[in-house]
Amino acid sequence: MVKRLVVGAHYGFRDWLAQRVTAVVMAIYTVYMLVRVFSLPVYDNAAWRALMAGGFTKFVTFLFALALFYHAWVGVRDIWMDYVKPISVRLTLHVLTLLVLVGYAGWVAQILWRL
């Protein structure tokens, strides 16, 4: 019988792939936003606000945030798995990490859609 840990990595390909797919999404967004920011006519808060208030910018920024949180989840979980051996502590840290990241996702949505 294969011994499986509650706090294991699900022993699969999915997270490995997700880590890379989210990385590519974030890399494309980073370059896109750098181009948008560098092509702003003036550098003040109004210009920044106008840029971020655009419907497409909001949409891709939120996608970036979700990709970031998934990416951070896989990366931080790997770190807990590398350095934290007691299963109870590790599970607690996993849950806290997830809760924080889900909370951040709500926070970013609120920041973007009140514009």
């Binding site: 890379r20 990385a23 590519v24 971020m52 951070a72 990366g75 770190i79 970013v108 920041i111 973007l112």
Partner: protein, 134 residues
């Protein structure tokens, strides 16, 4: 059939002071360190985003926070500069890892060269963008 459980203790050599990492190893551990730094700073960064797009009061609060200095050092700006480096290093090293995943540059010499490139490009971009936005 009797089950013989033989557990060999694996040798560990984790004296951090004595380990001499090759440059690709330096890039790798800095990838992890920068990732941890960015994760720990995530809440603060989202706050900065929110304040920069928030009410005039929040914007003023952000200005005060950015101007904060300790013993003449603009610590908040320096932390942000560190986070800029972390992002750029994570970005460059990540692209290098994606290429390695695709079996591009996995020979010793190109792998070393790309490790040097990651370190240099992320540092120079940090200086460039840091000067531009200071």
């Amino acid at each position: 059939m009797a089950e013989a459980i033989v557990r060999k203790e694996r040798p560990k050599y984790l004296n951090l002071v004595q380990i001499r990492l090759p440059l690709p190893g330096v890039v790798s551990i800095l990838h992890r360190v920068s990732g941890v730094g960015l994760f720990l700073a995530l809440g603060g960064l989202i706050w900065v985003l929110g304040a920069s797009l928030g009410t005039p009061d929040q914007l003023e609060c952000l200005r005060v926070v950015l101007a904060f200095s300790l013993l003449g050092l603009p610590v908040v700006k320096l932390v942000l500069l560190g986070l800029l480096w972390a992002y750029l290093h994570h970005f460059c090293a990540g692209i290098r890892f994606l290429l390695l995943d695709m079996h591009i540059g996995i020979e010793l010499a190109p792998a070393r060269a790309s490790a040097v490139a990651v370190l240099l490009v992320s540092l120079s971009l940090t200086v460039f963008l840091g000067v531009l936005t200071w």
